[in-house]
């Protein structure tokens, strides 16, 4: 299969994720969309790695997965903390940091 298909799929996934972040207000969904974007990146990395024929892209994909795992830990931790303090689970409501 030609490389284009992979890149197109990866782009679609990335765009879906970005759109999700921009239009959804639930932190959980935003976190899911972030994962989607990261994995779109992973897909592109592995596809290019296969095309070039070495393993470097795959190694990068592994690193991205580790980072994604960390990010989920922190993000979910935050969401649980927000939930426990009975604050609204809506990023537009949580705007304490406005200048």
């Amino acid at each position: 299969m030609a490389i284009e298909w992979y890149v197109v799929l990866s782009s679609l996934l990335f765009a879906t994720g970005a759109m999700g972040i921009l239009i959804r207000r639930s932190p959980v969904v935003i976190l899911l969309c972030l994962e989607l974007m990261l994995n779109a990146g992973n897909l592109a990395l592995i596809a290019f790695s296969r095309m070039v024929g070495n393993q470097e892209g795959q190694v990068f994909a592994l690193v991205v997965m580790v980072i994604a795992a960390c990010e989920v830990v922190v993000g979910l931790g935050l969401i649980v903390a927000i939930f426990r303090r009975r604050l609204p689970l809506d990023v537009d409501e949580l705007r304490e940091l406005r200048g």
């Binding site: 921009l22 935003i30 990023v91 537009d92 705007r95 406005r98 200048g99």
Partner: protein, 669 residues
């Protein structure tokens, strides 16, 4: 041991003494500080004698030793050693300073006995002697300035010694500020010397100077005038003299040591030390001589009317230093320094006697209240009389020989310098009158209450302790004079110190009698032989003529004082009424304080107010708050972006990346 080794020891003992008295104030038993302090200075004097003997062992031309312990500062072509210079001049100064200081320490041992600050007093006093010795032994201008500043500080600390008295702390500050003005002059002079000659070292500077400068070149005149600012501030010459009278707020031994015998003569020493520069700038030397002359007359007239015993002696000190300044400025170097020596004997003695009388008067210093002490305090009175005779240049006493030698030299130089002879003798007449005004007021007559008590019971009046100036009550536990006052009759150390000085004041002049001997002149000759003025020697005959005139004038002055204050005691009051404007002028000390107030203090205050109210408010505040406003405004703009909407941040981020990606696509294709 070499002369320089002795000189280092001279410096070491007072420093050790000062540290020991300062650190040991809890550990040392009550009177130990006095003993340590006195012993330190006595040892220093002994080492000074050692240096003298070692110096006398050399050929007269080779009596010139420099020594350095270590490098004091070294940077960018500047090299300053912690160096001393041992030559006849510095050894002479060391001997007079340590000798008189030893006796004054001994006097203080008894005089300050009841003071709560006994240890502090001796620590300061030793520190002062150390600083003064550093000043006279310094081998370059930097160390000279260090010693110069140290004595200024020691003077400040000792004037303000009774630190709970506001008059004393105020006087201390006044002295310090005026002295710092002098320090600035000295420092600027040193800068100029370094710029012109590239060295601070005395030997090098005085070696290069005659070749580098032409006579009366503006730079050398500027150097000399700046040196004079320093010298005049330290030596209380017009217009820097006002601090010395106020400095009498300090304990009497301090007045004797610092403000009569040693520190105030530092200016005389400075002019003598830098005489080569003054030879190159006759203009500056003449300015110095005329200032000295003006001071000796102005201070002499003020001393005629002052009613405060110590202040009267202080004005007499200024007047006598005027003679010394005249001497070293017109070229009568050894005569000026000879007068410095005899003056330190009789003036220290006068202060000691005054201290003893003031103690008997329970700190009251007003001579109008004193009388009849001749019978009440025989020893003190005898010493006061001896000091007075020497000060009034009574024939045969020490002051008689030294003062006239300066005037004889002026007469020998002739020309313009005849003025110094005429006015110098006028000053001598004033001296005799004001000195014996004090003597005739205090000694004879019906005993005042305090003198009566002494005669009847041998007891010293210890009234309520009060400030003599303001009359406020004082707590003797802290920072005020002690509860008891000590008079020489009851204290052996005081008696001893005064006795020795009394003998010196009487016979000290015999070391240099015209035509008979000239110990001081020949000893100091190697220092001054490079000055063309040193060639001038008044003949013994003309000196004796001068002495005869001096004797007549001195006796006339004493006679006038006798007429005014003994034979017809009503005349002074009459004269006061007749010459009211003159009297007012003199009582107000020629309005020098007011003049300085108008010319300097008020303009400086006005500048300060301008800086505070206008410059500070509009310029400085404007700058500061302008900066703050700018930052705040910029922050306001940036705040708008910080909406707190996470999704709008994400949009900005994505839009930014998209924009960048587009840009690179466009650029690459």
């Amino acid at each position: 041991m070499s002369a320089t080794a002795w000189a280092w020891l001279v410096l070491l003992f007072p420093l050790l003494g000062s540290i020991a008295c300062a650190l040991g104030y809890r550990a040392l038993p009550a009177r130990a500080a006095g003993a340590i302090g006195t012993a330190a200075i006595a040892l220093s004097f002994a080492c000074g004698v050692g240096a003298l003997l070692s110096l006398l062992g050399d050929e007269p031309e080779a009596r010139h030793h420099a020594s350095s312990l270590w490098t004091y500062a070294s940077a960018g072509g500047l090299h300053v050693d912690l160096g001393i210079l041992v030559d006849p001049l510095s050894v002479f100064m060391v001997l007079v300073v340590t000798g008189v200081s030893t006796l004054i320490h001994l006097y203080s041992f008894g005089y300050m006995r009841s003071d709560a600050g006994y240890h502090r007093f001796f620590s300061y006093l030793n520190f002062f002697v150390f600083s003064m010795l550093l000043l006279v032994l310094a081998g370059n201008f930097v160390i000279l300035i260090v010693g110069w500043a140290f004595v200024g500080f020691a003077s400040y600390a000792l004037i303000s010694f009774w630190y709970r008295r506001e008059t004393a702390t105020g006087a201390g500050m006044k002295a310090f500020v005026i002295n710092v003005v002098g320090d600035i002059g000295l420092v600027l002079a040193a800068f100029l010397i370094f710029r012109e000659l590239g060295s601070f070292d005395f030997e090098q500077v005085f070696h290069i100077a005659p070749e580098h400068f032409t006579t009366n070149e503006w730079t050398v005149t500027a150097i000399c005038l700046l040196l004079l600012v320093g010298a005049f501030a330290k030596s209380a010459q017009i217009p820097f003299h006002t601090w010395l009278a106020d400095a009498m707020e300090g304990p009497t031994p301090v007045s004797a040591l610092i403000h009569a015998a040693t520190m105030v003569t530092a200016g005389v020493y400075l002019i003598a030390r830098t005489h080569i520069l003054f030879v190159l700038s006759p203009t500056a030397a003449d300015i110095a001589a005329f200032t000295g002359l003006a001071t000796l007359l102005v201070a002499g007239t003020i001393a005629l009317v002052v009613t405060d015993l110590k202040r009267a002696i202080a004005y007499s000190t200024m007047s006598q230093i005027g003679y010394m300044v005249v001497g070293v400025s017109i070229g009568a170097y050894s005569a000026g320094l000879f007068h410095f020596m005899t003056h330190s004997f009789f003036k220290a003695l006068l202060f000691m006697a005054a201290g003893s009388i003031i103690a008997a008067m329970a700190n009251d210093q007003n001579i109008d209240r004193m009388s009849g002490f001749g019978r009440a305090m025989r020893f003190t009175s005898a010493m006061l009389l001896v000091g007075g005779l020497a000060l009034a240049a009574f024939p045969g006493t020490s002051g008689f020989f030294s003062k006239d030698e300066i005037l004889a030299f002026a007469a020998e130089r002739g020309g313009m310098y005849e003025i110094f002879v005429v006015l110098g003798y006028a000053g001598a007449l004033l001296t005799a009158v004001y000195t014996f005004r004090l003597v005739f007021r205090i000694l004879p007559g019906a005993p005042c209450r305090e003198a009566r008590e002494l005669i009847d019971s041998g007891h010293v009046a210890h009234g309520e302790p009060v400030n003599p100036v303001t009359g406020e009550r004082e707590d003797t536990e802290v920072g005020f004079p002690g509860p008891e006052h000590h008079i020489a009759e009851h204290s052996l150390p005081m008696k001893l110190a005064m006795g020795v000085l009394g003998v010196l004041a009487l016979i000290g002049g015999l070391v240099q009698v015209p035509g008979v001997d000239h110990v001081i002149a020949s000893f100091l000759d190697p220092v001054f032989h490079d000055s063309p003025l040193a060639e001038i020697h008044p003949s013994a005959g003309s000196e004796w003529v001068g002495l005869a005139i001096g004797a007549v004038i001195s006796l006339t002055g004493i006679g006038i004082a006798y007429l005014l204050y003994m034979a017809r005691p009503e005349t002074p009051g009459l004269l006061q009424r007749r010459l009211r404007p003159v009297h007012t002028l003199l009582v107000n000390k020629w309005y020098f304080d007011e003049l300085i107030d108008v010319l300097i203090v008020r303009p400086v205050l006005a500048v300060g107010r301008f800086a505070d109210r206008t410059f500070e408010r509009f310029v400085v505040d404007g700058l500061v708050s302008g900066t703050a406003e700018t930052v705040r405004g910029a922050g306001g703009i940036v705040r708008v972006v910080q909406s707190g909407f996470v999704r709008s941040y994400a949009l900005l981020l994505i839009a930014g990346f998209a924009g960048l990606a587009l840009y690179f696509l466009v650029v690459s294709s």
